[in-house]
Amino acid sequence: MSTLLEVSGLTKSFFGVTVLHGVDFVVRPGEALGLVGENGSGKSTSMNILGGVHRPEAGTMRLDGQAYAPQNPKDAISAGIAFIHQELNLFPNLSVEENLFVDAFPRWNGLPFIDRRAIRAQTEAVLHEVDLDIRPSTPVARLSQGERQLVEIAKALSRKARLIIFDEPTTSLTRPEVDRLFGIIAKLKARGIGIIYISHALEDVLAVCDSIAVLRDGHLAGAGPASEMPIGRMISLMVGRSIDTIYPDRQTAPGKQVVLAVEALSQPGVAEKISLEVRAGEIVGLAGLMGSGRSELARMIFGLDRFASGTIRVNGQPLDDPTPEKAIEAGIAFLTEDRRGEGLLMDFTIAENTVIASLDSVAGPLGILDNKRIASVSREMGRSMHLSTDKVEETRVKHLSGGNQQKVVIGKWLRREPTLFILDEPTRGIDVGAKQEVYRIINALTARGSGVLLISSEIEELIGLSDRILTISRGEIVAEFNNRPFDREAIMAAATGQRAWEGASA
């Protein structure tokens, strides 16, 4: 079988630090290569080389047998390589068809006007190929995340892409959208297009890819057909040692005291009579698909979104008309799924982020802050979280890795010693090592008597950590699983909904 892309001996270093040591891999037409590895393992560097952003120091790339050495991103595009990033590069204020051609509009009869008819026809054709039934003139702002991703794929197709690289494509998709995406990828493969699929979601990688390459510390740690790469093997190749389980054992049993009691929480279109309880020292997993209402529920409890009716009690005390301030005051902490947008002040230092939610504890009379104390508590937080740096007063969090950022978020909340910690996707986008760290912290938290409401897209994670699992679907709690070991299939079935998905979105 012919090869579409052949990469061999790719080497690259930044500031004297070698980040890629002679990496080889091959993508065949009509095949998907899964590229996995922890953050910093060299995935993004190799993709940046492929995309013409960086140039390698050694190694060659051949595309369809031809030498391929892109000097800039345009070269990559014209060579037929397309990227679908986690953060989509679409312009919400432009229409779908305009987005497809924004950097190279066809001209109308050689005049400096856009040939509207041509772009409409071409757009309709590629939209049809990705099974997206929308008008080409629809503004992208009106599309859901999944639809936007399909538009990105359509854009790649409209440029006659031969190789499409997906970078964490599923993180913000609902399950039906993920399924739809996988269907499209299969279609692309059938057309002979090569795929490189990068993700931390190893199950997805297995579901999509034909072969898998694992990177560790800039080396190719292992490669092979997907059939020979079960998840356990991938993980052990990624971290360099075999891991039986990355989930820590639960040391303590849940207590009696109910720290969170939600009763009949309703909001038209979002939640219907949701009731749940979390006890001290208990981890309650909330299983549900993206868009099932799980994050919305968390946001309502925390006072970020309004709800129409229902009651929330924290430690027995009612929390009326919650606002984040009131919720925090009552002892709730909330790790949001959007770390960069909501979890951290990226331009602020670690120390500033550490105390931002607990300023009263480091403030003296008249609200004057005690900078020495801020520094010491932040350093202490950094130590207990195993942060990569102890320069808490100098380092801005935007310069930290995803895992370290997440630790800062958790550390910031732990300073308040929350009675209830709501964790929405705490391990999204962070590598296995950091994940383990986060699990350890969650476990320690319950040992101290905090209740945890854990939301995750990874069923394994829920099963590995929770004392109890609730499934939410279409804004309703549809099932409860009380005893370990949990039945993975049953949870999945409940989460995907007994009733058919209707895909209502505004």
Partner: protein
């Protein structure tokens, strides 16, 4: 917010000679605008030697004060990524309201013992009310602050002119109590009262911004309101407070103006808007929020005043003042950009 770039840049593989290094370090420090001030004085002194006289220095100091107070208020608003264009109208409106309260010719409290305190309260209240209108419009009506304050500026500038017609036969309100004038002319321990007042405001504002919970909230809201909200910071209240602070600061400036002119004029402060915003931004405060300091603002105002005063002393014509002022603003911005690039490059 206390780290300076200096700490990070102090180490380098190739160490330039010590003087140069120190100079370089100074360029990169937050005293940069102050360095510019000194450089400017140096450059201009041969032409207007008076600029180094005690009298001119004290003039600059007292001329700075009203502008500084307004600029301090503006700093708060800029840090939350807003802008307050209405400060000039707040100055005018407060001035005429205050004057109408205390004037001896038909003032509400004229010739009573409460004339001065009543007037000062009325002025502060005016600033507070307009600030509140701005703040509530931004947080409740979801309006961009640029437009809100553009509209309130137009409204209250017009209202101030109209207001005078009900309280005076001329175009301004005079005959104010002597005791009020003392605010502008009086001294305490040899320091002008206005300098003490403005200095106090600056110190309080500095402490509030850099050392208090509220200050942290202001920066957080400016940097990322969503993240601030999730961290339990009362975003809307913080925004409202910043506009209130700006309003009150503008009305404090009005008390200084009214006192020094002994007149409540509806056009006082009309022209200071671009100076105020220019000064704050020259100081280094970002128009995009999240970044700014009171000391920077003090330096920015000082710089602008030095420029203005030297032009006055030179007797430069209006057009020369315009060209030089514009040119210097541009130059300062350019140097700042170069400096930041250098910082990032290292």
């Amino acid at each position: 917010m206390t780290i300076t770039p200096v700490a990070e840049t102090a180490t380098g593989a190739t160490q330039p000679p010590s003087v140069l290094r120190r100079l370089g370090r100074l360029m990169l420090s937050e005293y940069f605008v102050l360095v510019l001030c000194v450089a400017y004085v140096l450059a201009i002194a041969p032409f207007v030697p008076e600029i180094l006289s005690w009298e001119v220095a004290s003039n600059i100091l007292s001329d700075m004060m009203p502008l500084l107070v307004v600029a301090i208020g503006q700093t708060f608003v800029l840090i939350i990524a807003g802008i307050d264009l209405s400060v000039t109208a707040i100055v005018s409106m407060s001035a005429v309201v205050g004057a109408s309260v205390m004037t001896g010719t038909g003032g509400y409290l004229g010739d009573t013992a409460f004339a001065v305190p009543g007037a000062v309260l009325a002025m502060l209240f005016t600033g507070l009310v307009i600030g509140a209108i701005n703040g509530f419009s931004v947080i409740r009506l979801n309006m961009p602050s640029f437009i809100v304050t553009l509209a309130t500026r137009m409204f209250f500038a017009g209202a101030a002119v109209w207001y005078v017609t009900f309280h005076s036969t001329s175009s301004s309100i005079a005959n104010l109590p002597e005791s009020f004038a003392e605010f502008a002319t009086g001294h305490l321990f040899g320091i002008p009262l206005t300098v003490i007042a403005a200095g106090l405001i600056a110190v309080v504002a500095h402490v509030v911004l850099s050392r208090t919970r509220f200050g942290r909230a202001v920066y957080a809201v400016g940097a990322n309101p969503r993240a601030a909200r999730v961290s339990g910071i009362p975003v809307e209240r913080t925004i409202l407070f910043c506009f209130l602070i700006s309003g009150v600061c503008a009305s404090v400036a009005a008390t200084i103006y009214v006192s020094r002119m002994q007149t409540g004029s509806p056009i006082v402060g009309e022209n200071i808007l671009l100076d105020v915003i220019g000064a704050v931004v020259i100081g280094g405060t970002s128009l995009f929020g999240g970044k700014g300091k009171i000391v920077w603002t003090v330096f920015g105002v000082l710089f602008l005043l030095l420029l203005d005063t030297s032009m006055k002393l030179l007797g430069a014509s209006l057009f020369a003042i315009y060209i030089i002022k514009g040119g210097v603003i541009l130059l300062a911005a350019l140097v700042d950009v170069a400096r930041n690039r250098w910082l990032v490059g290292r």
